[in-house]
Symmetry: C2
Subunit: 588 residues, 2 copies
């Protein structure tokens, strides 16, 4: 765990200007010769391996570093009070002069969310496709970082040369449009990073994953394939996004009431399908929820969302429309306490309240850890008398990640010498390894690495040769890295049994008690019930201190321990709980 302060950024050396990029540059016909005396190429994941979240991969050759993605991770419930977790980028700060750019595969938070924190420490160029950059701009504007940002829009057909590295891109399918994978041509060999991908044969935007480029890479020879492994446990294929559209259509067809659909704000294709279905059934669409409004705005402006004229209505207009003309698309598919659907379901939303007879489609599956929140929302909706369509009863969501058959196809197209599973916990890495072995890749060519590992490849072989400073940095409020394990341990302890503070004012000359002991508690016992308990505890402390006075100790640490031990013992005896006991001694 890293506790370094983010508020005093290292002074970065000015990054070398990247050498520009050209559109549709013909792919070189000859393979790069594998250099024998040149240094090797290293891959260093700074996040996203052995975990799902905060994706960040460093590719380093000589004096050139490219970084793929800069994501956040949302904290599990065990990280009490933490807002976000970001990668520790010490290695990037130390090597800022080498960094040629951060290349973004797509606009999900676990790939772009750490950018504001990264850019406060290092100023480097950012490359991304149009929609990805659209979302990045929004984020950087919010953080007041747009002025100095060096954003470079790319398309999947661009080729970019930075130092000794050449980057190509290929379009992938995912649960957000404009996703790409990245091929990094190094003097040692070709490294292909899948990005987050699935193969959708019938994508909503008709843009199928670019098989042909992958086939060409395979022919050229792939040194290393870094592959999305999130769904590697699932046999078969991930269904097409269009299957969700079919569900929408069947629900709309039989419904005369208002229809409210909650989904991930970033799933523009899903939103497009809502809009298409609404159009088909003569309904208007209102967009609710801050992030949903933002994404719909950005996606529309940039041409990723096609909305018929007059289709979108303001939230206030909803009440003026007949029920069978209303569609509301909203955030809150994860039951997040502050999200719009959650509020609508508890009558806490400023504008919309779910009513009896409404039909609510929760077009998502709960992210692990959110199951109970989602269940609570569904329950609240049912209590109101809404009809709820959710994953247990209908095909309302498909994953954005490749299942086994898609990963196999990818491996067959690329025929990589080495493979690294990313975007997965250790069990995904292991399952990927088994699957890749069935495709003929030797076990020691499938590298299950940890955050910070340096995996080094030369012409002969690839292996983990060391590690760099890396890990997780916690963000809480404004603070970046000022909450570490000690603070978290205290929060856990406080959460379990609360806190009792014991204050006593003593005469610093002779240790006489001048005031107190006073006891104050929070989160320990209900005070009305606990009157006797705290009263008795106070006597115990006084007694202990009085006995002590005979020994004439005015040593603070001894007094504090005495108070702490007395209270710990007494409270455990009486309640079997162990609140944090904080003795405070005031001297006069």
């Amino acid at each position: 765990m890293n506790n370094s302060q983010g508020s005093t950024p290292a002074k970065p050396a000015a990054p070398r200007a990247h050498k520009g990029y050209r559109s549709r540059r013909p792919r070189p016909k000859v393979k790069q010769p594998v250099p024998q005396n040149k240094p090797s190429v290293s891959v260093i994941p700074l996040g996203g391996v052995g975990e799902v979240g905060k994706n960040m991969t460093v590719i380093e050759y000589g004096d050139d570093i490219v970084v793929i993605d800069a994501g956040v991770k949302f904290p599990g419930e065990e990280l009490l009070g933490i807002d976000l977790v970001i990668p520790d980028i010490t290695y990037l700060v130390e090597n800022v002069s080498k960094i040629r750019g951060i290349f973004l595969t797509h606009g999900h938070e676990d790939h772009i969310g750490a950018l504001p924190f990264v850019l406060r420490q290092i100023q480097v160029p950012i490359y991304g496709t149009r929609l990805t950059l659209g979302l990045v701009k929004n984020k950087l504007t919010e953080h007041g970082l747009m002025r100095d940002a060096q954003l470079h829009e790319i398309t999947a057909d661009d080729i970019i040369n930075v130092g000794s590295l050449e980057l190509e891109f290929f379009r992938v399918n995912h649960s957000i449009p404009d996703g790409i994978g990245i091929a990094v041509r190094t003097p040692v060999g070709l490294i292909v990073h899948s990005g987050d991908f699935k193969l959708d044969q019938t994508p909503v935007d008709d843009k199928v994953l670019e098989f042909s480029k992958l086939a060409r890479y395979g022919d050229e020879g792939v040194l290393l394939f870094i592959c999305d492994s999130t769904n590697v446990e699932r046999p078969g294929y991930t269904p097409s996004e269009r299957t969700v559209g079919d569900t929408f259509r069947s629900v709309f067809a039989k419904t005369q009431s208002r229809i409210i659909i909650a989904t991930f704000a970033s799933n523009v294709h899903r939103i497009q399908q809502v809009i298409n279905t609404a159009a088909e059934f003569n309904r208007k669409v209102a967009v609710v929820g801050r992030s949903m409004v933002t994404v719909v705005d950005v996606a529309q402006q940039l041409g990723y969302l096609t909305v018929p004229k007059g289709m979108l209505v303001e939230t206030e207009e909803v009440d003026r429309l007949p029920d069978n003309q209303v569609t509301i698309i909203t955030t809150g598919s994860q039951g997040e306490p502050m999200a719009a659907l959650t509020r609508m379901a508890t009558n806490n939303h400023r504008q919309i309240a779910i009513r009896e007879g409404d039909t609510v489609i929760i077009s998502a599956t709960p992210i692990p850890g959110n199951e109970k929140l989602v269940a609570r929302t569904i329950d609240n909706l049912f209590r109101i008398g809404a009809d709820v369509v959710y994953k247990d009863v209908a095909m309302v969501h498909v994953s954005g990640h490749a299942a086994q058959q898609e990963i196999k196809l990818m491996l067959n197209l690329l025929r990589p010498k080495y493979a690294i599973p990313f975007h997965g916990e250790y069990r995904h890495q292991t399952t990927f390894s088994k699957l890749a072995q069935t495709m003929g890749i030797p076990a020691d060519h499938i590298i299950r690495c940890n955050i910070g590992d340096r995996i080094e490849f030369n012409a002969e072989q690839g292996q983990i040769t060391g590690s760099v400073e890396a890990g997780a940095v916690m963000v809480d409020g404004i603070g970046v890295g000022d909450v570490g394990n000690i603070v978290l341990r205290d929060r856990h302890h406080l959460a379990q049994d609360g806190v009792v503070i014991a204050v006593v004012t003593i005469d610093k000359e002779n240790g006489t008690i001048l005031a107190g002991p006073d006891l104050v508690s929070r989160g320990f016992v209900f005070v009305r019930e606990a009157g006797d308990l705290l009263g008795e505890a106070k006597s115990k402390v006084r007694e202990a201190l009085t006995t002590r006075t005979a020994a004439n100790t005015t040593e603070w640490s001894i007094l504090k321990n005495l108070i702490r031990d007395t209270l710990n013992e007494y409270f455990y005896l009486k309640t079997k709980r162990r609140p944090i006991v904080l003795p405070i001694i005031m001297e006069i």
Copy 2:
């Protein structure tokens, strides 16, 4: 939420002795006449409706009350520090003289776990089948409550008359042996409570659910069916427990390494299948984990588990056996931090450590809320190099609850006039209602009730006519009900942002500051990072207090508010966090 103290039990009136029970009493051939002038019968759920857990149902006719089950609920993560949740039994305490007995459907914690707390408040007879009572005895012995316990063993063929009520029982299939449903014959009509059930056509103990009794009840006429609704969202049938045995067999057949199987301790049939498979493949079995050892002991003693001679070995012997003769059956299938498998997977178990090459079967699905814990255990096992067989990759678990087709069969057998879904959240209640309507039961005859509702039935109709005091009582350590919403709210607040204590000693005559202000924090910021923050905060408080002194205020509440406001504002400005601020003023 009820905050009444459990530690001072109401003095119970001695319950009337039950009128005894007879085995195999022939069922009366004539229907009970529906009385016109007699009082109605009431059903009052004290737990288990609108929730999964702490099942407890009261059936009341005139001066006679029978209670079905007395379960606990395991707290969600939001109930910080809480160990257990039990039903508020105020209504039972107030009506103790009417209670003819608590009838247990089976030995799961959510049906028997509250007994120790209940029996400390009311002394009433307990009825249950042999295995159920075996588990109850264990529990009551642990709590030192066996001396006064009135336990009555029943079989599914017994008929028991208590006051004006007659109780019959019918065998059901469930994920623990010896489960029963209960038919309560009242002067108003027959009430059938399903218990937790599934229909297993090929149960491990060959004891199929007693269809014939249900058919007879149907012919007799059923006023009300109280039905397990946990799996009502699932179409089709719940698979037979034997399908898990098939998975075990296929894993054992191809494995030469040690096999470790984690499952629910109470699933005796599952344990039986492990033992059978081990026998088939010439392996021994070691039993690990406190609750697993207890259940295997009790089940063996009572004849619910058949173990070939010499099959079970002590844990110490495991290391002396060749790997291909070792089976270990253990707790920890939910990733519980203190359970045996969790410890084995982190090398924290006293006797067993998982090794590379071991095969671990997690024969369970995560209970909602435990997903992350289970995922962490699987990950740890993979990291060690174990082969892990879990629900995502094999058929390692089946549910113990009926799916839609089974519930429909039950409804067709019983043809009840009214139905109440229990053992389900509101969405299960609603889905049950829809399903029952498709079977011809009118919507207003399917009652989705809340805890504490009194549902009253007479010859003409059934409806909710009122409610009794009821709810959830939280158990934390020894304390029963001394942690309520205020304490929990504080624990949440403490968990989010920690606590800052500000102490100042003042002269009570003129308000001069004699010592302090001193600030102490826990769970707020890492102290090394926060030196300046707390130092600056201290000056702010001093400044505020000094200004105040001019106004000569020595009013405590004003001073405290001044300190609190000053610190809240300062901390939020600097950190965007809101720790609990506790001002303490000492006067001399």
